[in-house]
Each structure stands twice: as structure tokens, then as C-alpha cells.
Amino acid sequence: MNDNLYRYLLILGDNSMILGQRLSELCGHGPNLETDIALTNISLDLFGQVRSYMQYAAKIKGGETTEDSVAYLRSERDYYNTILVEQENTDFAYVIARQFFFDAFHKPLLEQLMNSKDETISAIAAKSIKESKYHLRFSSEWMRRLGDGTEESHSRLQNAVNDLYAYCMEFFQETEVEKNMKENGIGADLELVKVSFLKTINEVLPQAGIEYKDIKFRYANGKQGMHSEKLGYILSDFQYIQRAYPNMTW
């Protein structure tokens, strides 16, 4: 049970952590000041949520484990984020589409986790959902603006959606750990999350004039630790300080 809970916290936390890291790469590189600030603020919110998950995971693991060791000192196969969030900041349309798909999944996920029997998880979810609503509002608005903008912005967003939507069904492929947590009243029912996710997609993408019905889903298994080569590059950046100066603290 505790092993499952620990692993479940990593599945939840790693998504926010890797996406937060991707967004932090944009600090100082956003297309304009307001967007730069917005994306890094979203990154900060995600990292705040990650800290809560990792602190709790460290407590469950016990012994010498700390939030930092959980976050920084695992090897690649021991990260359980979905493949979508490790995708690159190819261009602004990719950044927005990745964010939108994640937010459309994250908000209903948190809505369910608010009713978790695990008090810490329900508290983290109740806290995070407020932030997640702002994120979804921001990314949906940009989906509409890019999709309904110029020919250039439209075609870039269409490209991004073609590439990224293909990874989205991984969110809803239930792993053994997620099944166990759902059955114990701790985890979310991913089928219900999917209903909400699709509702958001079916509302926003047509408004943006983006085609998506024919996109074929790709097999992805990040939640079991099977990643694309991109994660390695992210981790080499992310873990650098802790690997170079072990146990360094702020």
C-alpha cells in the first residue's frame, strides 16, 4: 500500500515537475514580457505543488529521504511523468498546445483528488486547483488567439497539435498503481477525468479552428518509466547542481 502511494505521488508530482522545468527554460526567452512572466509564474505554481507531493513522498519513504533527494536523485527510468510534458519548447505554439493539453487534464484530475481519502493529497489538490484554473484559462485563451490569428500562427498551432495531441491518451491509460489507488479511494478515476478532458478539447479546439479528429494516438508509457530521449537532457540540466555538489542546500 505504501509503495503504491509513494509511486502514485511520483506519478502526480513528476508531471508537474518536468513541465515546470520545461517552462522554466523559457525564463527570459518568452515572446514578450507578459507571456514570459506568465509562463514562469505557471512554472512556479507547478514547482510549488511538486514540493508538497515530494515532501509527502519523502515522509512515506522515511529514513534519510528528503524532498530534494526524491526530486533530484532518481535515475531516468524512475521518473514517471507522461511523455507529453517532456516535449520540447519547439516554438510558442508548441509551448501553448502542450500547456493546454496538460491543463485540460490537470484540472479535472485535481477536482477528483480533492475527494481523495488521503488527507494530504486532498489538501494539495484543493490548493492546486485554484492555480490550475488560471493556467487553463491562460492556455485556452492563447489556443484561440493562435488558431484564429494569422495564417502563420494557425499553421504553427496546427502542427503543434498534430504532434502533441497524439500523446494525450497516455494520461488515461491506467497503470496498476493508479488502479490500486483508485480502488482504495485515494486516486482519481481516469475515465471520469477523460470525460472532462474531452469536453474541454471539443470546446476549445473548434473555436481555435484546429483539426484534431483524425490524429492517431501514439503509444506512450512514461508512467512506467519508459521515456523519450528528451528526458535525459532535461534531467542533466535539472540534476546538475545536486550531482555536482551532493547534498548542497540553499
Binding site: E34, I37, L44, G48, T120, A123, E131
Partner: protein, 167 residues
Amino acid sequence: MVELLENISDEKLKEELLKISDPEIPVLSVFDLGVIRKIDVIDKDVNIELTPTYSGCPAMDTISMDLKIAIESLGYKANINLVLSPAWSTDWISEEGRQKLEAYGIAPPLEESLDAKALIEGERIVKCTNCQSTNTIMVSQFGSTACKALFKCEDCLEPFDYFKCLK
């Protein structure tokens, strides 16, 4: 007077605690902000329950550290417990806090439905902190910190922060 401090007999301790402010918004004390939910003083132990505003808010670590330093400088032991639930809401900002925000140049949060109108539908209802006009537009949904949005007054042209409603 701050209700939470009523049962504390050490005047010096009260005075020091009241000086602790949000490092990002120095005019707001932690009591104005509503992040302190409980204080118990038992002998030389000061037990505090602190609720974060936004999960990633870096101000929380600073506030926690400032409290600890202030309390321990008076010979007490500080036990600061971060409590996530119930989650902080902008309704917890005191009336005095709202006035201080406005005087400092940050428009205080509107209630939830009006906040959505201002942020999503672009209704001109947020009052400019410089000239009080409501002829204002949103420049960016995220401002200098995660809790604020950036607005601009179309009458006096002053840019200003708006503290977003969080519920």
C-alpha cells in the same frame, strides 16, 4: 487589534510578530494577509500554523524564516507548521489589509464573479489605484508575481497591479 494575538501576554512578542510582513508586499503584515491561522504560546514554545498563499510562493519561506528569527530573538522556541487545508483564499485578507494594498498601488481583489468578468470578459471594473477611474484594461493575466495581474488605466495611463481573487 489582531484577534489571534489577544491571548498572548508578552507585549514585546506581540510587537515583534506584528512587524513581520510579506516580503513582496511590505505594507501587508502576515496578519493582514491572513496566512497565520493559529498562534499558541505555551511556556517558551510559540506554535504557529501558517497557510501558504500560492503553492510555489517564495515569500512563504521568507515569512517562515522571519517569524522564526523574531520569535527566537526573544528567547522562545518557534514551531512553525505549514498547513495546506483549508486552502488560503483572498477572502482572508483583512479589511485593513485591502486598504493598505490599495494605498500601496495594488488594486485589492474583487469578489469571484466580478473578478472573472474583469479577467476574462475584459469588463472595465477594476478601480485604478492612482485616479480611482474604472476605465481600466488588463495587460496581462499574470503580473509581477503569480497572485497579481497587470492592469493599465486608460484615463491616467498608470499601469498597476491587481491582486487576483483566489477562492
